[in-house]
Amino acid sequence: MSTVLGFVQAIPYQELLIQTLNGIVTGMILALIASGLTLIFGIMDVVNFAHGELFMFGAYMGVVVISATGSFWLALLLATLIVALIGAALQITTLRPLLGRDPLTTILATFGISLVMQNYALWQFGPVARKIPEPFSGQFTLFYLEYPWYRVLIAVLSAAIIGVFYLFLKYGTYGIWIRATTQDRVMAGAMGIPVSWVHTAVFAIGAGMAAASGVLFGPLVGVNHAMGLDWVLKAFIVVVVGGMGNLGGSIAASIFISLLESYASIWVSPAQAGIVSFVVLILTLLFRPTGLFVPTPK
């Protein structure tokens, strides 16, 4: 009995609460990246290796626009639009010719794109990390910590973007086009939906969402050319754990994995906490290869 009591008392409740908040914040950022990734996969069978680089480009666009205009919100908007356009251009030039070929060739093509974009960023912006200033610097007291409001805002904004996007998919005319194309490409084409433009639009939306998360996340870490790599790997894990092409599953998996990682980082170093997500992935593959957050297939 006393051991149980000792164990219960030993749990660092304050730390747990702080890490819950941290986990939700990073989880929402991850969800914003992963939902674009899973959508692009779901609709056109493209595993977008360059997604992390779109995220990184978004952050750099944010840096550029802020240094020119000084407005964070303008930067968020412009970076999203610019990267969405870049995404559309990439889709038209490299992915459209690959339509109908083995999906694996799209991995290769987007891997090539990611190499080019990463080195372009290194060339253009140099190896020194840039900083995006926080748009406001309010804090509130959480136990012994001054917790910045901005982090909470990130979570809320990410949730809002995902929510708007969800509503668009559910009720918007073009959203219905997208869902129709996901379900049956040929039939959608027969109904008069311009399928190849839907693909381009979806890629652009995914790119824009990645860019938005890049700008939002920029103030928390430095912006550098390699920042996309970590995130794209995490997003891949999330997408597999959540069930590929399944939007809700990816969002749930993002928050689930981020929470686990934050809790783990109470006891071990953050680099080692990253292994938690790998363990979740292995267990998922072992027991539920179709994904954790999808209904059991009949």
Partner: protein, 317 residues
């Protein structure tokens, strides 16, 4: 294989082998080293061709096998005195085979893209472990060690020079090529190719597809580990950078550039890639991946068969 075609094939094989043997006499030091490096990366690419080209599974995790080969060799060379070449190879192969079994067990449950992503993530697991486990692996700095002597117990022992290293690497790569070629033409190799063509039908005929896939991944990992050992011998260090997934990506690039399913294609692809890198880094310095990446994308779109793709049928006779 018809008799005439076989003669042409073996003549070509002998000529290229002879050229590679005399190469160290004519080439200056830099290009000698460069050629050895092409052979090593070519072996890595060839090992992954077993999966990509013959079984139809694109592995994005070959850096794990390569890196474990490197660290296995490092372990043997640092722990055993005096450093022994064959022990280094043995340790490297054991390391990569162990990892390959682990990866194969989980990843072969999945197909296509899922397989690619899973192998990628597995290689990242090993990267994180090697990167953070500083006491054993040296962490970010990696491990450095001395090169062992080239010796055959009881016969002779001599230190490696850049020529003998080249010949040693060439011998290992040639032997690996012949072994892999034999394997792809064996009944086992035929089953792998039928998995690539039609997995469901192969299963329906009664082959235990999963078991064949696991063996294929292990075989591939074993040769990738061998390449890692050779690279460790050449450069006298093991570093976590070589476990990072960009190395796996480059391996896939070698395959696609050279032509998958040909075994020699990946070696040619590795040579082509390294030459491009050499040429462009004169103009673009460290940003050479911008033009090389663009060329790679163009090849994926316009030349999906790769440089040697047109010879594929003939090479596999």
């Amino acid at each position: 294989m018809s008799k005439r075609s076989a003669t042409v094939y073996w003549t070509g094989f002998s000529i290229i082998l002879a050229l590679l043997i005399v190469a160290p006499f004519v080439l200056p030091e830099f290009w000698r080293r460069f050629l050895t490096e092409i052979l090593i990366w070519g072996l890595l690419a060839m090992s992954s061709d077993i999966l990509i080209g013959y079984t139809g599974m694109v592995s994005f995790g070959h850096s794990a096998f390569f890196g474990l080969g490197m660290y296995g060799a490092a372990a043997a060379l640092l722990m055993v005195r005096p450093p022994n070449l064959w022990l280094a190879i043995l340790y490297g192969l054991i390391g990569s085979a162990g990892i390959a079994l682990f990866v194969a067990y989980f990843s072969t449950r999945l197909r296509d893209i899922y397989f690619a992503i899973t192998t990628l993530i597995f290689s990242q697991i090993f990267y994180v472990i090697i990167f953070t486990w500083t006491e054993v692996t040296g962490g970010e700095n990696g491990l450095t060690f001395r090169r062992p002597a080239l010796e055959i117990p009881g016969l002779f022992s001599m230190p490696f020079s850049s020529e003998t290293l080249h010949w040693f690497v060439l011998a290992v790569v040639t032997a690996s090529y012949l072994i892999l070629r034999r394997i792809t033409q064996s009944p086992f190799g035929m089953v792998l190719q039928s998995i690539r063509e039609n997995e469901a039908r192969t299963r329906a005929i009664g082959y235990a597809v999963e078991r064949y896939k696991i063996v294929a991944v292990m075989l591939s990992g074993l040769f990738a580990g061998l390449a890692g050992v050779l690279y460790a011998l050449q450069n006298r260090f093991a570093a976590p950078d070589f476990v990072y997934f960009l190395v796996s990506g480059e391996t896939v690039i070698f395959n696609v550039m050279g032509g998958i399913g040909t075994l020699v294609g990946p070696i040619v692809g590795a040579g082509f890639f390294l030459l491009l890198r050499e040429a462009f880094s004169r103009f673009f310095t460290e940003y050479y991946l911008i033009p090389v990446g663009v060329i790679f994308i163009a090849m994926v779109i316009f030349l999906p068969q790769g440089l040697l793709g047109f010879m594929r049928r003939w090479l596999n006779q």
